[in-house]
């Protein structure tokens, strides 16, 4: 010690200045407009700003928005009703939309087709007739349907020409337009994920909340149950449960049973997240303060703790949706769960089970495309949300 003091004594003292101005401890440098905007912004605004910088997530969000708006108006978006059989156009290949005929601009149209029997190959073939030009009609009346099951209407976004046909993605074995069926299928497939996640979200918050807030033996019990659930491989469990749903039930009841099954199996991840967050938050001072003031545990959890990590939960829930959509698709493909005449992407893929049929009519496999697009969009969007979920970092 003495050595150091000796050493310091050898140095010349630093220049010493004292400001005589009175010092106001509350005076702060004024914030710039930008800083002020940032400081006053709510948590959700901050999240939005952060999400906005994540271009891929933004694009994915837009794609999802378009998809979900479409599910509201499938009857209008699809050129045909889901069960309309356009006989004899069975197993018709997809038609390309053209704009020019012999170098002359006509606007969007398709060439008509003729059914011919190819006696060499012993099969029916559709020959494209390049003389038969069928211009598409837009905002038109076409195939009649019952809008939302409420009233009859025949308005469509796009229709085939009068007495013409429009098979953008071909037709199936019964002559139903695949594009229309995929659009109709979106209604079921996309809502399955939302409803399923809502169920697992509620279960996860409730059970995880119990475990995290009370801790002790409740926590132990919940943890054991979660471990148990997680050691079941999801898909076989889903298969077993949906095999238990009688196929004779009302399709709507079956739909809800399937979503409940999807949600029941999937809540463990969310419950874990809620639990670990609550465990750390309940040690915070504001929780103790609320407890000392005599607040009810439900009030503490709902009002003080949940908002702290709600954004996180929403992000994880978003990431859980694609799993459910895939679950439904897999079940539908296997022929469990939803059954025709209900149309979902999984049910549509069920006809792709026979790979030899797919080799001849490759368009049967097309429902794969919207599934992959949706799953990708949810992944990117959920990732962006998760990054944005903690704007203060």
């Amino acid at each position: 010690m003495t050595d150091r003091r000796d050493g310091q004594a050898g140095l010349s003292p630093l220049p010493h200045t004292v400001s005589r101005e009175p010092w106001d401890p509350y005076a702060r440098p004024p914030m710039t407009a930008d800083q002020q905007r940032f400081a006053l912004a709510s948590q959700w605004t901050l999240m939005w700003w952060k999400l906005r910088r994540h271009k891929l997530a933004l694009i994915s969000g837009a794609v999802l928005l378009v998809l979900y708006v479409c599910t509201l108006f499938v009857e209008i978006v699809a050129p045909y009703e889901q069960d309309t059989k356009i006989i004899p156009y069975v197993n018709h290949p997809p038609q390309a939309v053209h704009f020019f005929h012999d170098g002359e601009f006509i606007g969007p149209f398709v060439y008509g087709t003729r059914l011919e029997r190819n006696l060499e190959l012993m099969r029916r073939e559709f020959i494209v007739d390049r003389e038969d030009i069928q211009p598409l009609r837009f905002f038109c009346s076409g195939d009649p349907y019952r809008f939302w099951g409420l009233f009859d209407w025949d308005f469509h976004l796009v229709c085939p020409a009068e007495d013409g046909r429009l098979f953008l993605l071909g037709t199936d074995q019964l002559g139903r337009d695949m594009f229309s069926r995929i659009v109709y299928g979106a209604r079921v497939s996309l809502t399955v994920g939302l409803v399923g996640v809502a169920i697992s979200f509620l279960l996860g918050i409730f059970i995880g909340g119990l475990a995290g807030y009370y801790g002790g033996w409740v926590d132990n019990l919940v943890n054991r149950v979660i471990e148990l659930f997680q050691s079941f491989p999801q898909l076989p469990l889903w298969m077993a449960l949906s095999a238990a749903v009688p196929a004779t039930w009302n399709p709507i009841v079956i739909f809800f049973m399937i979503t409940i099954i999807l949600g029941l199996v999937d809540w463990t991840g969310l419950a874990r997240a809620v639990r670990s967050k609550l465990l750390s938050l309940r040690e915070e001072d504001f929780t103790t303060a609320a407890q000392l003031l005599g607040a009810h545990p439900r009030r503490i959890v709902n009002l003080h703790l949940l908002p702290n990590f709600m954004s996180h939960l929403i992000a994880s829930a978003t990431l859980a949706i694609p799993g459910m959509i895939l679950g439904e698709t897999a079940l539908g493909y296997l022929g469990l769960g939803l059954q025709p005449p209900v149309v979902s992407w999984g049910v549509l893929l069920n006809s792709a089970q026979d790979i030899n049929a797919v080799a001849v009519q490759p368009w049967l496999i097309l429902p794969v495309v919207p599934v992959i697009i949706t799953v990708l969009a949810f992944q990117f969007f959920g990732d962006g949300l998760r990054d944005a979920a903690d704007p203060y970092k």
Partner: protein
């Protein structure tokens, strides 16, 4: 270490018991039993089972007993190696399940290896070359792999192979070996066919593993001990191998517990798509025809596989990391 292993195995027993009970309850959920299915099938063919015969069958299989008694009968016999009788296949469950379960294990083990072997070097490259073109490309491919559902991937591969090569990539061995006893020739044939399902099932797991290992490694590369090691003149590769890599290795093994159920899930559908002789198709059929002992044993065994897998990964972790075997808990 021994105490840790013993305790870990003891904990497993109640888990397995509960799993068996849950499996049993689930397969009892659908109204009716296999005999109802049988009756309906016969009726649709215009034949009828006479009631006395039905009653006799019901009594022999113990289907008239209360559920609890049926469960204890089943699990009691199961402990002695008798997993019940498959109505559909007219054979003991063990015979039906045995081979396909073994193949499921082979596929799952191969996929796990595949995930390790592929994700390890890619993750190291990605982490050490952060923000390089290679990193971006690999991350992007990983994203696609993560998002492409494996059974759709299988479907697309199957279609492409059918159209462009005219061959079927389905199956797990050359047709001549089906129904043959295990031999070296059959074994090699299986090896030849194994890569398709392994890639299909393993893609998303690999992608997930790459992302996690990359993130872990990036964290470790920031730490001072690594900077110190570099500052003291340790060559980069050696410093990497000696310290951060070992730290980042933990989740590499611990994650297997989480990935295993996914792999088995994936293997089930992919098996149906690619018509592999593993559990998928048989499980599906047994569920549809309410062949309860078969379905129940399947669900139990598939879940049991993951439990054992998690046990193995925990034990491996304990070997690797003294903190775990000394404190007794898992460090995550």
């Amino acid at each position: 270490m021994l105490a840790y292993i013993a305790r870990r195995i003891l904990v497993m027993i109640p888990t397995l018991l509960v799993i068996s009970a849950v499996s049993f309850v689930i397969i009892q959920l659908p109204p009716g039993d296999y005999l109802t299915t049988l009756e309906n099938e016969l009726l649709s063919r215009g034949e009828a089972l006479n009631p006395a015969q039905l009653q006799y069958l019901r009594e022999t299989y113990g289907l008239d007993q209360p559920l609890v008694i049926q469960y204890f009968n089943w699990i009691g016999n199961a402990l002695q190696g008798d997993w019940g009788f498959s109505f559909e296949h007219q054979a003991p469950v063990t015979t039906v399940v045995g081979d396909s379960l073994f193949l499921t294990i082979v596929i799952t083990a191969a996929t796990t290896l595949f995930i390790w072997v592929v994700s390890f070097p890619i993750a190291i490259y990605s982490a050490t070359h952060q923000y390089s073109i290679g990193d971006y490309t690999l991350t992007f491919i990983g994203f696609i792999g993560l998002a492409t559902p494996n059974f759709l991937l299988a479907l697309i591969l199957l279609y492409l192979a059918n159209v462009y090569f005219g061959t079927s990539i389905g199956g797990l061995m050359d047709p001549i070996y089906i129904e043959q006893p295990m031999s070296w020739a059959k074994f090699f044939s299986v090896l030849e066919h194994l890569w398709v399902p392994v890639i299909v099932i393993g893609t998303s797991g690999t992608a997930a593993m790459i992302r996690r290992l990359r993130a872990n490694l990036l964290d470790e590369l920031q730490k001072q001990y690594y900077v110190t090691a570099l500052a003291k003149g340790l060559p980069r590769g050696r410093a990497l191998m000696k310290y951060p890599l070992r730290m980042a290795l933990n989740p590499f093994i611990a994650d297997i517990g989480g990935i295993l159920p996914q792999l088995i899930s994936g293997a089930t559908v992919v098996a149906v798509v690619l018509s592999l002789p593993t559990s998928g198709r048989i499980l599906l059929e047994s569920l549809q025809s309410q062949d309860m002992y078969l379905a129940g044993s399947f669900i139990f065994w598939l879940s049991g596989l993951t439990v054992v897998g998690v046990l193995l990964s925990d034990l491996a972790l304990a070997v690797l990391d003294p903190r775990i075997r000394l404190s007794g808990g898992s460090v995550k």
